[in-house]
C-alpha cells in the first residue's frame, strides 16, 4: 500500500465528516461537555482541565467582544474559569455548559467594565491587534487600528449594561430572549438598553466622524 493510496480515503472521510450538519457537531460537543462536567463534579480535576481547554478560545473571543482589547483579559479568563469551577455544583445541566460559561463570562465582564468605568484608561491604538487581512499595507493597518480605537473608546462611554446588551444583540446576533436570559433582565429592558446604546454610539461616533476621524 502506498502513501498516496492512503491519502485519498482519509481526504474523502475528512470531507464527509466535515460536512456533518453543524447541529450534530454541536450536540456531540455538548454531550462531551456534559460528560466532562459529570467527571469534574465527581472530583476529577483533570476533567475540568479538559473543559477549560475546550472552551478557552470561546471565552477569550466573547470577552474580547464585550470588553475590547483590554490588558486584563488574561486575569478575567482565569477568574471566569475559577468562578465556573466553584459554581459547578450549582450547574444543573438544564442549559448547555457553554451557555452557563457564557453567563459567567457576561457577569464577570460586567463587573470588570463597571470597575473600569470608575477609572477610565485611554485606549492605545498601537496595542490593538487587528485581524490580518491579506494585501493590507502598514498604513492601512495603522488606520484600521485608529478606527478601532475610536470605536472602543466610544463603547467605553456607554454604560456597561447597555454596552453588553448592544454587543450581545447586535454584534453577536443573539435574540432579545437569549440576551435577556444571559443578563437576567426582561426582554423590554434589554430592548431598551440596546436602543439607548445604539443612540449613544450614534451620537458619539457621528460627532467624531464630523471631526474627521480625530481620536477622542
Amino acid at each position: 500500500v502506498t502513501a498516496g493510496a492512503l491519502v485519498l480515503p482519509v481526504a474523502m472521510f475528512s470531507t464527509l465528516t466535515s460536512r456533518l450538519p453543524a447541529r450534530v457537531r454541536e450536540d456531540q460537543a455538548g454531550a462531551q461537555d456534559a460528560a466532562l462536567v459529570a467527571q469534574a463534579l465527581a472530583g476529577d480535576h483533570q476533567a475540568f482541565g479538559a473543559l477549560h481547554r475546550r472552551h478557552i478560545d470561546f471565552v477569550w473571543r466573547r470577552l474580547t467582544h464585550l470588553c475590547g482589547p483590554d490588558p486584563d483579559r488574561e486575569d478575567l479568563v482565569q477568574q471566569i474559569f475559577l468562578e465556573v469551577f466553584r459554581g459547578l455544583g450549582r450547574f444543573r445541566g438544564e442549559a448547555s455548559f457553554r451557555s452557563y460559561l457564557y453567563k459567567v463570562t457576561v457577569n464577570i465582564a460586567y463587573d470588570h467594565l463597571r470597575r473600569r468605568g470608575k477609572r477610565p484608561r485611554p485606549i492605545d491604538a498601537g496595542a490593538i491587534e487587528v485581524l490580518p487581512a491579506p494585501e493590507a499595507s502598514p498604513e492601512s493597518r495603522a488606520a484600521d487600528r485608529q478606527r478601532l480605537a475610536t470605536t472602543w473608546t466610544a463603547l467605553d462611554r456607554v454604560k456597561p449594561k447597555k454596552r453588553i446588551a448592544f454587543i450581545l444583540r447586535v454584534v453577536e446576533g443573539m435574540s432579545l430572549e437569549e440576551v435577556s436570559q444571559l443578563v437576567n433582565a426582561s426582554v423590554p429592558t434589554v430592548a431598551k438598553r440596546v436602543k439607548h446604546a445604539q443612540e449613544e454610539l450614534y451620537r458619539l461616533l457621528a460627532r467624531r466622524a464630523g471631526q474627521e476621524g480625530d481620536a477622542p
Binding site: 457537531r25 473571543r61 475590547g68 482589547p69 479568563v77 485581524l131 454584534v171 461616533l205
Partner: protein
C-alpha cells in the same frame, strides 16, 4: 452588516460599523498565550482544590479572619493575661542575637500605648531604641493565637512564627496571631513591613491578612508591606497566592514579582525589597546556625531548618513553571528552557509537564530548531495526557509542515486532524489553514469546497470574512 430590528438610518449604519470594528479586533488566542493561560487556570484550580477551604469560594478565606477577630474581641481579657505572662515569661527571655546593639530584654517590642494602635505588649517596654533600623534587636516567638507584637519606628525585630516561619519586622509595625493550629498559622499585619521565609514542606500554610489583601504562603521567601491605603506582597522565591480585596480569585505571585492591593497586575519585585529579603534570609540562617545549639530556649524550641536549607527547595511544578514563565517574560530563553526541562524531568506525570513540552517546542521553534520542535510536538500529540494540549500539539505539528513547505504532508496532517477531532474547537483554525494553503496553490476547487465548509460550520469564525473573499475570488470569472 446591519443591526437587527432597526429601520434603515444613520443609527443602523453606526451600529453596523461598530459591529464590524468589534469583529475586526483580533479575538484569537495564539498557542503560546493559550498554553500560558491554561497553566494559570490550572494553578488557580490546584490552589482552590488544595486550599483549606477545599473547593469552596475564595471568600471563605476571610472567614477564619472574621472568626479570629471575633474571638479576638471576645477574648481580649485572655489576651491581656497572655500578654502579661508574655512570651518572654513563658518561653524564656528574649535572646540577644549576635551583632545586636545590646539593648536588653524587651527591646523591639512596643511599650504599652506608644504605638498608634491598641496593641498589647508581650514584654516589658524597651529601655532605648536603636538609631538604625538595620540592626536586628531581638528574636521573639509568636506561636499562639492572640500573641501580638509591636515594633516601634526605627527598629527591626526578628520573630519566629510558629514552627516554620521566620520573619523580620521593620517598625513601625504591628502583627498579631489570629489562628495557630497544626497546618495553619494566620496572622494579621496591620501596619509595617514583614520580611519572612516560610517552610511549608510538611504541608502547613501561613496566611497573612493585611489591609486590602490576604496572602497565602506554602513555601517561600517573601515580604508583606501593610498600609492602610493598600498593602503589597513581594516574593523573592517560591510563590504566594494573594487574594486582593474586591477580586474573587487569588492571584499567584511568583519569584521576583509583587502585587499591591491597589494595582491590577503583577509587577516586578522592587530591587530594594529584594535586597532586604536576601538580608533577612542570610541573617535568619546565620542566627539559626549560631543560636540553635546553645540558646536558652533551645530545649523547647521547635526544630530548626539546617542553615543550608533554602526556602525555595523542592518547588512545586507550578512554582517551577512560573519561574519559566517569568524567564520568558524577561526573554531569557535559556533560563526558561532550563526550568521547563526541569518540569519535564522532575515531574513527568504532572499535567504541567505537557504544557512544558509544548512551550519547549515553541522555544525550539523560536531558536530555529524545527526538527527539535517537531519531535516535541509529535511526542506530545501522541502521548500527551491532556487531550486539549494533544490537540494543540497536533495542530502546531501541521503548521510546522506548512511553514517548512511540506504542503502535501501538511494537508494530510490537517485533514487527519479534522477527521479525528470532528468536535474540536480548533476546527475553524485547521480549516482556515487548509483554505489558505489551497488559495496559495491556486486550487480553486478546493478553495470553494473548503470555504463552503467554513461558512457552514463556522459562520461567525474569525476567518469567515476572509473565507468569503477568497471564495468570491475563485468564483469570479
Amino acid at each position: 452588516m446591519t443591526a437587527p430590528g432597526r429601520g434603515g438610518d444613520g443609527r443602523d449604519l453606526v451600529a453596523a460599523e461598530v459591529t464590524e470594528d468589534v469583529l475586526a479586533t483580533d479575538d484569537r488566542l495564539d498557542d503560546m498565550r493559550r498554553a500560558r493561560l491554561a497553566a494559570r487556570i490550572d494553578a488557580g484550580l490546584n490552589h482552590l482544590a488544595g486550599g483549606p477551604a477545599g473547593a469552596g469560594t475564595a471568600r471563605t478565606w476571610r472567614r477564619p479572619l472574621l472568626v479570629g477577630l471575633v474571638l479576638g474581641s471576645a477574648g481580649m481579657a485572655a489576651a491581656v493575661a497572655l500578654a502579661i505572662v508574655g512570651a518572654a515569661g513563658e518561653r524564656g527571655q528574649p535572646r540577644p542575637v549576635r551583632g545586636l546593639a545590646s539593648t536588653g530584654d524587651g527591646v523591639g517590642t512596643s511599650p504599652l500605648g506608644t504605638g498608634p494602635g491598641p496593641g498589647l505588649p508581650i514584654a516589658p517596654p524597651p529601655s532605648t531604641l536603636p538609631a538604625s533600623p538595620s540592626a536586628i534587636l531581638v528574636e521573639r516567638e509568636l506561636s499562639r493565637a492572640f500573641d501580638r507584637l509591636e515594633v516601634p519606628a526605627g527598629t527591626r525585630v526578628r520573630a519566629r512564627l510558629g514552627q516554620r516561619a521566620r520573619m523580620t519586622l521593620v517598625g513601625p509595625a504591628e502583627v498579631a496571631v489570629v489562628v495557630s493550629r497544626p497546618g495553619l498559622t494566620e496572622v494579621e499585619l496591620t501596619r509595617g513591613r514583614m520580611l519572612a521565609d516560610y517552610d511549608g514542606r510538611s504541608g502547613g500554610k501561613l496566611r497573612i491578612h493585611a489591609p486590602g489583601l490576604v496572602a497565602e504562603v506554602v513555601g517561600t521567601l517573601f515580604a508583606v508591606e501593610a498600609e492602610a491605603g493598600g498593602s503589597r506582597v513581594s516574593v523573592a522565591h517560591g510563590e504566594v497566592a494573594v487574594l486582593v480585596e474586591g477580586r474573587p480569585a487569588p492571584i499567584m505571585v511568583n519569584a521576583a514579582q509583587s502585587i499591591g492591593a491597589g494595582t491590577r497586575a503583577v509587577q516586578a519585585l522592587a530591587p530594594a525589597i529584594r535586597v532586604e529579603l536576601e538580608d533577612h534570609a542570610r541573617s535568619a540562617h546565620r542566627a539559626s546556625a549560631s543560636s540553635a545549639p546553645t540558646g536558652p530556649t533551645s530545649a523547647s524550641a521547635p526544630p530548626r531548618r539546617p542553615a543550608s536549607a533554602s526556602p525555595s527547595e523542592a518547588p512545586s511544578p507550578s512554582a517551577v513553571y512560573r519561574m519559566a514563565e517569568d524567564a520568558m517574560r524577561r526573554r531569557d530563553r535559556a533560563q526558561a528552557r532550563r526550568r521547563l526541562e526541569q518540569i519535564v524531568a522532575r515531574f513527568p506525570s504532572d499535567r504541567l509537564a505537557d504544557t512544558a513540552r509544548y512551550e519547549l517546542a515553541q522555544l525550539a521553534l523560536a531558536d530555529g530548531d524545527r526538527a527539535g520542535a517537531a519531535r516535541l510536538l509529535e511526542t506530545l500529540a501522541q502521548a500527551g495526557r491532556d487531550p486539549q494540549l494533544r490537540e494543540s500539539a497536533a495542530l502546531a505539528r501541521c503548521r510546522l509542515d506548512l511553514e517548512q513547505g511540506a504542503e502535501r504532508r501538511a494537508v494530510r496532517c490537517l485533514e487527519t486532524f479534522r477527521t479525528s477531532r470532528p468536535a474540536s474547537g480548533r476546527d475553524a483554525e485547521a480549516l482556515a489553514l487548509l483554505i489558505d494553503d489551497a488559495s496559495r496553490r491556486g486550487a480553486c476547487d478546493d478553495v470553494i469546497r473548503l470555504t463552503a465548509d467554513y461558512q457552514r460550520l463556522h459562520p461567525a469564525g474569525p476567518f469567515a470574512r476572509e473565507a468569503t473573499q477568497r471564495r468570491a475570488r475563485c468564483l469570479l470569472p
